[in-house]
């Protein structure tokens, strides 16, 4: 582990902390079109949209779980996944889980008045869980990087 690895990890960690909440915002705003244009008819474009959402969800979930930057050297990735990062990630997952459960309970209650399809419900829950964890992880990482 060299000084250069530490400097690179520091730079990439800052980049990740700035990027994550922004990615969460893009991820959530992308979902608006999915629900605004909800229609009983299923068109080809809907399959593409669902596919894109699924792909983005998997990529974001993997980035959260592993720290991302998969093509960087092992030493740099290890530094970017140190004790503090693992603690921040665990806290982000904890809050993400709680918010998802609360959203699930809310949707279960709302379903009495406005029945929803299973797919829509799962879509909302996955989006809420991933977005929350991304925002919390980003915020905790930014706090950890703050000096003084």
């Amino acid at each position: 582990m060299t000084r250069s690895d530490i400097d690179t990890a520091d730079r990439l960690t800052r980049k990740r902390a700035r990027m994550l909440p922004f990615l969460a915002l893009i991820f959530v705003t992308q979902q608006i079109s999915y629900f605004v244009e909800a229609d009983a008819r299923v068109r080809m474009v809907d399959h593409v949209k669902v596919g894109a959402w699924l792909l983005l969800s998997v990529v974001l979930l993997l980035a959260l779980a592993t720290g991302g930057f998969w093509f960087k050297p092992r030493a740099v990735r290890a530094l970017m996944d140190d004790e503090v990062t693992r603690a921040n990630r665990a806290e982000a997952f904890r809050i993400g889980f709680l918010v998802t459960m609360i959203a699930g309970i809310g949707l279960y209650f709302l379903d009495q008045f406005a029945p929803m399809r299973g797919r829509e419900t799962i879509h909302i829950l996955v989006t809420v869980g991933i977005a929350t964890a991304l925002i919390v992880f980003g915020a905790l990482e930014r706090r950890a990087l703050r000096d003084g």
Binding site: I6, A9, T13, E83, V84, T85, A87
Partner: protein
């Protein structure tokens, strides 16, 4: 019981003329880890506390103590 873990990491590090990055390199962690421990934002594991003590050539009790 309102006990918290306090530390003298910043004082001992500067006394030895080390930057956060230099100490990070000695211990094999990121600069962020040193920063969060110094600021009391993060409570390090026993392993990390012992590594920090070894890198600074001080007993671990000199670095960390109970506050409150």
């Amino acid at each position: 019981m309102a006990e918290a873990l306090a530390n003298r990491l910043l004082a001992i590090r500067t006394e030895r003329g080390l930057t956060q990055a230099a100490l990070a390199e000695l211990v094999g962690v990121s600069r962020k880890t040193i920063n969060t421990v110094e600021n009391g934002v993060f409570v390090p594991s026993t392993l990390l506390a012992l590594k920090l003590a070894r890198a600074l050539a001080r007993p671990v009790e000199d670095l960390f103590f109970l506050d409150g």
